[in-house]
Amino acid sequence: MLLTISTVSSVTSRPATDLGFLLHKHPDRVQEFAQSFGTARVFYPEATERRCTAALLLDVDPVRLARSHGKTAPDFSLGQYVNDRPYAASSLLAVALGDVFRTARTGRCAARPELAEAPMPLEIRLPALPCRGGAALAHRLFEPLGWEIAAEALPLDEGFPEWGDSRYVRLALRGEVRLADALNQLYVLLPVLDDAKHYWLAGDEVDKLVRAGGGWLAGHPEKGLITRRYLGRRRALERTAFARLAELGDDVEEALEPPVDEEVVPEREDGVAGTDVGDPETAAVAEGLGEHADEHTSEHGGEAPHDSAASETPDGDATGPEAVRVPLNVLRRDAVVAAVEELGARTVIDLGCGSGQLLTALLARPAFTRIAGADVSTHALAIAARKLRLDRMPDAKRARLELFQGALTYADPRFAGYDAAVLMEVIEHVDPPRLPALERVVFGTAKPAHVVVTTPNREYNVRYDFLGEGRAMRHPDHRFEWTRAEFAAWARAVADRYGYRVAFRAVGDDDPDVGPPTQMAVFSVAGERSEGDG
């Protein structure tokens, strides 16, 4: 809500109050600017020849904020009314800053043209800056731009010290920077650091980013992250019904989000391994900044812990430094496809298809004549549809694929009638007491000739650095991770109960001590020909 910009005059330069010319706001006036979500005011707490401070104070009206999006505003969540927007230096402050200092951001100043062109001593303070990624990320974003930065984490509640720090930092930036650049940097980086969902923002963000990023974004080492987060806000799918239920249960929506894209796959030159099918908006930004789209793709650093993608990719294992390391999720997907192919299955259903990684691979093989993907999360299905480019898929290919919502604990006639069912990294997301229901639905009711199940091997977790202190499992939504013996015992019991035979396979580097990172069980109806039967 509050931003102050100060400057001091040095011996050779003009009076500090020239800041008023550059900002196009008179130091002796209090000026108001109406915003759709509140009122912005600019005033000067100090204005002397030596030192001049301009304050941008944004008064956010939560009620107006919730209504500012008109009829399309999803009136669903208390978060719309009780939120940090009225206090934090959020993306709303960036919007106000962009509007109030529109002229200043262009670097035009008829009164002091040479001053507007030159770097000047600036001090910028933000008492409560939401900063996802912590003070360290603020350092990484501002330091390359020539700022000296002080970022102090704010405690959440002094009455509950065990709660630790909040997501806010008190930020102070000092540096010799051209004012227009400083304003544009704040305009872009405040929402990037905030990284909150913005149901109320829309508009042509690509153009805005290109315009505001001119001159500094192209050379920024964190350009990829900045672009992705800046644009990513708009891509958030509105999950109002789901969000309401999260709130009802005193849960945090993000914590309930389905486990899609647990592992982000670094894109390779040939594009084979990449799960992300390229993003036209990112490309448009690159083009706008005068670059080639390929340059800023693979970066993962600095993201908050739950984007643990890169870290789950086995990187501590024994493959030589020269070897091209294939990420585990690609190995797993390929292993599943190979298993299903060896079984001679022509029709396959992917139970718990998530964002459709396996479906993409299956669709690429014409031998699979009918493919279905089911997931309980409509969010995951929407992502899958987008990644598969369902809306642009040729009819002949489209006709082979079916996507629908289904839950593995509810018997479903749509699950039946396939040669093989795949449960790839699915069972560990089911509470153990609910597994018998899943077994009944898959093995008892749908009863395909073959079932392929993969799940993490807990023994291998010792090879992951990111596991250990405070984090026992590979994904927060995992309800369990099994050793090889536990998985085998479960699989054999299921096979016995439902009349299947089962064989086991390793997926990924098969460590002599702890086994492979992923374990696979291939079930076949007893009597059915399967792998190894010759």
């Binding site: 104070l57 009225p86 206090y87 509640d157 018997a411 006639p413």
Partner: protein
């Protein structure tokens, strides 16, 4: 007058050339919505009723509409020429595929009349050749139409067409006007002595060749009176007498069917006790043999009784076949649905239709011997193998009581041992069809409630990813509305409006219950794991569950088991008090932070932290500006107030947080006994009863829930208020003010006695400081704006969800199957994802 009798439910196919007056005839005798014409459909698909190129599409549409109507059991009239055999054949097949009868009405008018009529209609510009061709087709058809598959072909000629009167024939199976009470009797198989004993046990006066019940009850036999047993003629004589006297109904069993065929001299395999019947009947006088044969021959496949709420068929009947007539309906009713396989004893494997049954009608049947009659999805099999030495069983309807007498001896050896296990739907299994798509849930307290597909989808995700085992999930709490908005200075909500609303609804006495600020919790507790297995079908040794408003277990870690065990221990006084070995309690789990810590930290504490960091700086900046002589208006003053508001906001949420270690610090405050064995107490008992019973767990309701104690159960403070007493109202307002000023969330005002209809089951009146958590720290600055709130949707939602909750509990108490309980519970969760102002 020429009477044309058509089936009350079924298909009527009009046949006649263009210009024969079919549409006029249809308009005179049937409702406009009952008549589907090919011209109309042609118009729908082409915007031109005479566009012949649209004919194939038009008939596709016509067949679709007719199919949907027949599936829904509606009389449907097809107005098209239908002069060609294949056109009629498609319609007859459509009727067959929906198991309804089809009649044809032929309007046979002279060609010249038809041509003359067409000539005066500008839209019929085709020449007389078309009519001539149709006429030729009709002539050819008339000779053979009786073989088309119609039940009847009515041919009307000349003035018969104008004099015709359409009459409706009810289906033979339709006895919906009979409301009973009924005594439905299982497979007798010639066991006359047992039958007489059973009838006497049911209070019947049995005489020679008949029986009457002093209370006028009607017996309904499920068939298989004959074969195997010692006295088939005796059984027939008694039942025939009762049916003739109007004291009994009887549907056909497969054994009657086969016996008739044998008696008619057809070649049948003499097995399964047929020999005994033939021998016994041969010893009877010829006249009795003839009567018995006629009686058995005239038995029909099934009856719909009691307004359609009861269906009796020998082998049961799936819902799509109720009241329908076709070969496969009869075959299903007589033999059941078989898979085509045979079991190890050589008997046909039956398809478990009852496990998929979702109908509203109770279906009572026999045919397959079972050791114990058991309700499966509102169906029950009464064949308890009397002739095999089991029992002869009757069901009293509507009382739903089972009465049985033991067999005197084993009259006939069964091929398959009685009670041999058979495969079937596990009671804990649910189907996607139980919950998905747009659904309508019938409730006895709030009518039919719609659940939209997208809300169901969100609920499915939350339910299947996070909820406890559905067998524990017998209830989810409904939302609750606040009262009308207060106009009192400084208040958005106040008890006065709640009292006023209930008084206006005719409620005389309410209870004000402290609204604990924690997390709503439903506790399902069983006395022992065995009791849990018996009542809930949970066999993993657990004996209870405590879950949130979205069905999520509290304490995903091992603490759940400990919590349940300690609650069961503390709940011991309830078992005797309620005469039940299980109970479902509606509670609040404290502190709020026990469940919601992540939410509090991420949302509430964060807002507090940001506010308390930014506002002092803003105050300082504004002070400096004011010090420079700038006119900052009232902004400085306002920002100071906001800083104060932010502090109050922080204090408000901090009230509801205290550290918890293990279960230390956790309390559970129950305020209603939702259900126990045989009783949905939430739907039947007044709140005075609930609070009284619960005081057994919590002691006297005086202490505050935060008090240090080893006990998990915490009291719910409350006061009763007679609404006609101004003094009691004023005292309750005082009580509420004290409660909320001390940091309490507020209170819930409920009518003491169970209310129905549009009266809210409760209204929440929240305190001024608590509402900062809901409306934001600064809500007190803009009360005038916030007073314009709209309660309609919230109130409607509260009523609908309450009705669903009561329905779920009642179904649970009545022992209905899992999917029936799950249906309204799931619907509550789905409705909770509907968009309503979340601050209400």
């Amino acid at each position: 007058m020429v009477e044309v009798k058509v089936p009350e439910m079924g298909l009527v196919v009009l046949v006649g050339v263009s210009g024969s007056g079919k549409s006029t005839f249809a308009a005179r005798h049937f409702a406009p919505t009952q008549v589907i014409s090919s011209d109309f459909c042609r118009g729908l698909v082409s915007d031109d009723e005479n566009d012949q190129s649209a004919t194939p599409d038009a008939f596709d549409l016509l067949h679709h509409i007719v199919g949907v109507r027949l599936r829904r059991g509606l009389l449907t009239v097809v107005d098209a020429t239908n002069v060609q055999w294949d056109a009629r054949k498609k319609l007859v097949e459509l009727a067959k595929s929906h198991d309804v009868l089809a009649d044809a009405i032929v309007l046979d008018v002279p060609e010249s009349v038809a041509i003359a009529r067409n000539a005066v209609r500008p839209d019929r510009d085709f020449g007389p050749r078309v009519v001539a061709r149709q006429s030729k087709d009709l002539r050819r058809s008339l000779a053979r139409m009786s073989k088309d598959g119609f039940r009847r072909v009515h041919v009307l000629r000349g003035d018969e067409i104008d004099r015709a009167v359409v009459a409706y024939e009810r289906a033979w199976t339709d006895k919906t006007e009979l409301t009973g009470p009924f005594d439905i009797i299982g497979d007798v198989h010639g066991c006359r002595s047992e039958l007489e004993a059973l009838l006497r046990a049911l209070g019947w006066e049995v005489g020679a060749g008949g029986a009457v019940h002093p209370e006028g009850r009607t017996a309904v036999f499920v068939g298989d009176l004959v074969d195997r047993g010692p006295d088939t003629p005796g059984v027939l004589r008694l039942v025939m007498g009762m049916v003739a006297a109007g004291t009994a109904l009887c549907v056909s069993g497969n054994h009657e069917q086969k016996l008739v065929r044998a008696l008619n001299g057809r070649k049948v395999t003499v097995a399964h006790g047929l020999k005994e019947s033939l021998e016994q009947l041969a010893a009877e006088p010829e006249e009795f043999q003839r009567e018995a044969r006629a009686f058995m021959d005239g038995l029909i496949s099934h009856y719909r009784l009691d307004g359609g709420r009861l269906v009796v068929a020998h082998a049961g009947l799936k819902e799509a076949y109720h009241g329908r007539a076709s070969g496969r309906v009869r075959s299903f009713a007589l033999y059941g649905d078989t898979t085509g396989e045979t079991d190890e004893y050589g008997l046909p494997v039956r398809y478990p239709w009852a496990e998929e049954y979702r109908g509203r009608a109770t279906v009572v049947y026999g045919h397959t011997p079972v050791p114990e009659p058991e309700w499966v999805n509102n169906t029950i099999c009464l064949d308890t193998g009397a002739v095999f030495g089991g029992r002869l069983t009757a069901l009293r309807y509507p009382e739903r009581e089972l009465v049985s007498v033991p067999a005197e001896k084993v009259w006939y050896e069964s091929v398959r041992p009685l009670g041999a296990p058979k495969a079937g739907r596990e009671p804990g299994a649910l189907r996607i069809g139980d919950v998905s798509g747009t659904r309508y849930v019938d409730t006895r307290f709030g009518g039919r409630i719609k659940v939209r597909e997208e809300n169901g989808a969100a609920a499915l995700e939350v339910m299947s990813r996070f909820a406890v085992d559905p067998r524990w999930l017998v209830y989810l709490p409904p939302t609750m509305a606040p009262p009308e908005t207060s106009t009192l200075d400084g208040f958005l909500e106040h008890p006065a409006e709640a009292f006023e609303e209930f008084a206006a609804a005719g409620v005389t006495r309410v209870v004000c219950e402290e609204k604990h600020m924690g997390s709503r919790a439903i506790a399902v507790l069983a006395r022992t794991p065995e009791a849990a297995a018996k009542r809930f079908g949970i066999t993993d040794g657990s004996a209870g569950a405590v879950y949130t408003r979205t069905g999520r277990p509290f304490f995903g870690d091992g603490r759940m088991g400990e919590l349940v065990d300690r609650l069961r221990e503390e709940a011991r006084p309830l078992w005797d008090e309620l005469v039940s070995d299980w109970v479902v309690l509606d509670c609040e789990l404290l502190p709020w932070s026990a469940k919601a810590e992540e939410l509090i930290r991420g949302q509430y504490a964060s807002v507090g932290a940001a506010a308390r960091a930014a506002l002092p700086d803003a105050v300082a900046a504004l002070s400096a500006a004011a010090g420079r002589g700038l006119d900052v208006g009232d902004l400085l003053e306002r920002t100071r107030r906001r800083l104060d508001n932010a502090t109050r906001f922080r204090d408000a949420y901090a009230q509801y947080c205290w550290p918890v270690s293990g279960l230390g610090g956790v309390r559970l405050a129950p305020f209603q006994v939702l259900a126990c064995e045989g009783r949905a107490t939430a739907a039947t008992e007044p709140h005075s009863w609930h609070l009284e019973v619960l005081s057994l767990l919590t002691g006297e309701p005086g202490g505050s829930p935060e008090a240090t104690t080893d006990r998990l159960f915490a009291p719910t403070r409350h006061v009763f208020v007679s609404l006609d007493s101004e003094r009691e109202r004023a005292e309750a307002v005082e009580w509420w003010s004290a409660l909320t000023e001390a940091g309490g969330e507020g209170m819930v005002v409920k009518p003491v006695d169970v209310v129905t209809g549009r009266v809210q089951p409760g209204l929440k009146v929240r305190g001024r400081e608590y509402l900062r958590i809901i409306y934001g720290p600064d809500y007190t600055e803009s009360l005038d704006v916030l007073r314009r709130r709209f309660l309609g949707r919230k109130r409607s939602l509260a009523l609908r969800e309450h009705a669903l909750g009561m329905e779920a509990l009642t179904r649970l108490a009545e022992g209905e199957p899992l999917w029936r309980v799950h249906e309204p519970v799931f619907a509550v969760l789905a409705l909770e994802s509907e968009p309503v102002d979340p601050r209400l």
